[in-house]
């Protein structure tokens, strides 16, 4: 055998070895990923199944992965007397819309100023914002400011203001806008466009991907917020959806009373456990439905953030 033949032979064995290793690796990979995916998904199946199970069966058999006795009674109750639920939805939708639109506009405007390379003080202002992520006064002074000095308790502003700005979003948006070629801004200036006009006419249209991503992050934050309601809302008319669910999980009796007040007839065999699960589905339903369409924007956002971190 010539030397080159021997080498060829070795390469062949190597290649065959690589092939078996590759298969083994792939097998492990498929199994691990499948297990992780099942673990991630099965709680959702559990909730859906539990919400569709007859209450009397839950009381005896407990929650099951598949409904052993199918029933829509929990949803029936929820939709029979939906006043509170509709009100909670209305609060959440209003807060999400107002907060996202305002927050997005202000975030973009701020990020644009910080991305302007000819703006001398941009580093100073960046640090001014950034410092608030390093150090803060803690919960108490902020809470007292909101409640005792700004009197925002039981107002919709208390649900909107705290999440209007986020330094991380400003940074992500800024790093996106920094990629807009300076020449474009310069030529617009030569044409006599002012800074605000450049922002609205040029930068905003060019930043659509970043705007979509940050907008969705903001909207998700507002939709899922319950914390600021826990701190600032005691008026039932202002309860957002997640906080309503929180209340319901902790205090179903209180909720039943509220339902009775709003016209529901108290029934002794009213479902409780399946009702909690049905309410859980109602609270995250829109997100589960929108999820396949919005997911990629979040991936995009994380990737933009990861580059400039």
């Amino acid at each position: 055998m010539s030397a080159s033949e021997i080498r060829l032979d070795q390469n062949l064995t190597k290649a065959v070895g690589q092939q078996t290793d590759r298969r083994l690796f792939a097998a492990i990979g498929y199994v691990v990923l499948a297990i992780l995916a099942i673990v991630c998904l099965f709680p959702f199946l559990l909730i859906i199944s539990s919400s569709l199970t007859k209450e009397s069966v839950i009381a005896i058999e407990g929650f099951q992965l598949f409904p052993t006795a199918f029933s829509l009674e929990a949803y029936g109750i929820l939709f029979q007397y939906p006043e509170q639920m509709i009100r909670a939805y209305a609060v959440t939708i209003s807060v999400t819309l107002l907060g996202t639109i305002t927050g997005l506009l202000l975030t973009a405007m701020t990020a644009y100023c910080l991305s302007r390379k000819d703006f001398k003080w941009r580093n100073a202002f960046s640090f001014y914002f950034f410092f608030t992520t390093l150090f803060n006064g803690g919960l108490v002074p902020w809470y007292l400011l909101m409640v005792n000095y700004l009197h925002l308790k039981d107002t919709m502003l208390a649900l909107i203001m705290p999440m209007l700005f986020n330094v991380f979003y400003i940074v992500v948006m800024k790093s996106f806008m920094s990629q807009v070629p300076e020449a474009i801004v310069e030529s617009a200036k030569l044409d006599g466009a002012g800074d605000f006009l450049i922002f609205i006419r040029l930068i905003v249209p060019l930043s659509k991907p970043a705007l979509a991503t940050i907008g969705l992050f903001l909207a998700l934050g507002y939709w899922n917020d319950w914390y600021h309601a826990l701190l600032f809302v005691s008026d039932e008319k202002l309860m957002p959806l997640q906080y309503y669910l929180y209340k319901m999980l902790g205090n179903l009796d209180g909720m039943r009373k509220a339902m009775a007040e709003s016209g529901a007839v108290m029934t002794t065999n009213m479902p409780t456990e399946s009702l909690k699960m049905a309410m859980t589905i109602v609270a995250c339903g829109p997100i589960l439905i929108a999820y396949p369409f919005i997911q990629k924007y979040f991936v995009q956002g994380l990737t933009i953030g990861a580059v400039k971190g």
């Binding site: 991630c40 909690k276 990861a306």
Partner: protein, 306 residues
């Protein structure tokens, strides 16, 4: 006329400054003004006096916090939980990202990534509801399964020793997809020539992962871990509060600084003390971040925060 100096700049940048004004005022009001409120840590708060009129009481608040034994318990829990989250979350996320990159076709990858990312999108309240479904003594799924296999049911909500495991698992579950996407982005950025070179040198896929992928991920891992360490004194209030709530039986194993401050402020109304604990947390966190940044700067100057 071409004015110079500070006021000249103010005039030149007037539109930009106006556009920045909302954010500047916002952070002034909601971040910088409350920083001044740290003085409450050294005051005995009364409602009549408010922030400024309440009498000073020196270090009484912080002394009370330490002498009650709460300081050690909540600080220990906060740090240990965060340390466990950092190790478990990053290990799982890196593993998932490597497999997602190496295994399966486009369709499979998309499906897996969507499944892993889903828990990130729901609120902690919904997670609390899921935990209730799983862990309830009478009807919880875990106990249904235990009973089905002939075991005694366990009273999870009254047994503190289970909770470190439960909380670490649920935290990992919630952020698995988020971290996986970040690491996947980093892996995708690795130069493919390196893989090809390794393959020509006869490396099998295990060696390639260990010798090419992981070393190339180290900068990302180090940065993400260090950033997480910078937040090691910040407990995830949403998680602890929705999973444990005000269930005092579990506090020895589950109470973190953030839940403690919340309860002191809104349930027991010890305002001065809770302000002191909040300040203690802020200062510890600030010092940690400075140290971490110093470490990052030494490791890789471009990655330093400031």
């Amino acid at each position: 006329m071409n004015r110079r100096g500070f006021w000249g700049d103010v005039v030149r940048y007037r539109i930009i400054l106006l556009m920045l004004a909302p954010a500047v005022l916002y952070y002034l009001l909601f971040a910088y003004v409350p920083m001044g409120g740290i003085i409450l840590a050294f005051k005995h708060y009364d409602y009549a006096g408010g922030v400024f009129g309440s009498p000073w009481n020196g270090l009484d608040n912080i002394r009370f916090f330490f002498e009650s034994g709460d300081a050690w318990r909540v600080t220990r829990n906060t740090v240990l939980y965060n340390a466990a989250f950092i190790v478990v979350n990053n290990a799982l996320q890196i593993m998932a990202a490597i497999f997602l990159f190496e295994v399966g076709g486009k369709w499979f990858r998309k499906l897996m990534q969507s499944a892993l990312f889903l828990p990130y999108f729901i609120s902690w309240v919904v997670v609390g509801s899921i935990a209730y479904n799983l862990l309830n003594y009478n009807i919880g799924t875990v106990n249904v399964w235990l009973k089905g296999m002939g075991f005694e049911p366990v009273d999870i909500y009254n047994t503190p020793s289970y909770w470190p495991f439960i909380l670490v698992l649920i935290a990992a579950w919630k952020v698995l997809g988020y971290g996986t996407v970040m690491y996947l982005a980093a892996i995708t950025g690795i130069d493919t020539e390196m893989y090809e070179a390794a393959e020509i040198d006869g490396a099998n896929i295990f060696q390639r992962v260990m010798k090419v992928t992981l070393p190339n991920l180290y900068p990302t891992i180090i940065i993400l871990v260090l950033l997480a360490i910078g937040n090691i004194f910040r407990g995830d209030f949403g998680m602890f509060y929705n999973l444990v709530g005000n269930n005092g039986v579990l506090f020895a194993a589950t109470d973190v600084i953030d839940t403690f401050v919340f309860r002191s402020l809104l349930m027991t109304n010890e305002i001065g003390m809770s302000a002191a604990v909040g300040a203690y947390q802020s200062v510890l966190g600030f010092v940690t971040i400075l140290l971490v940044n110093y470490a990052v700067r030494r490791h890789d100057k471009d990655r330093a925060l400031f």
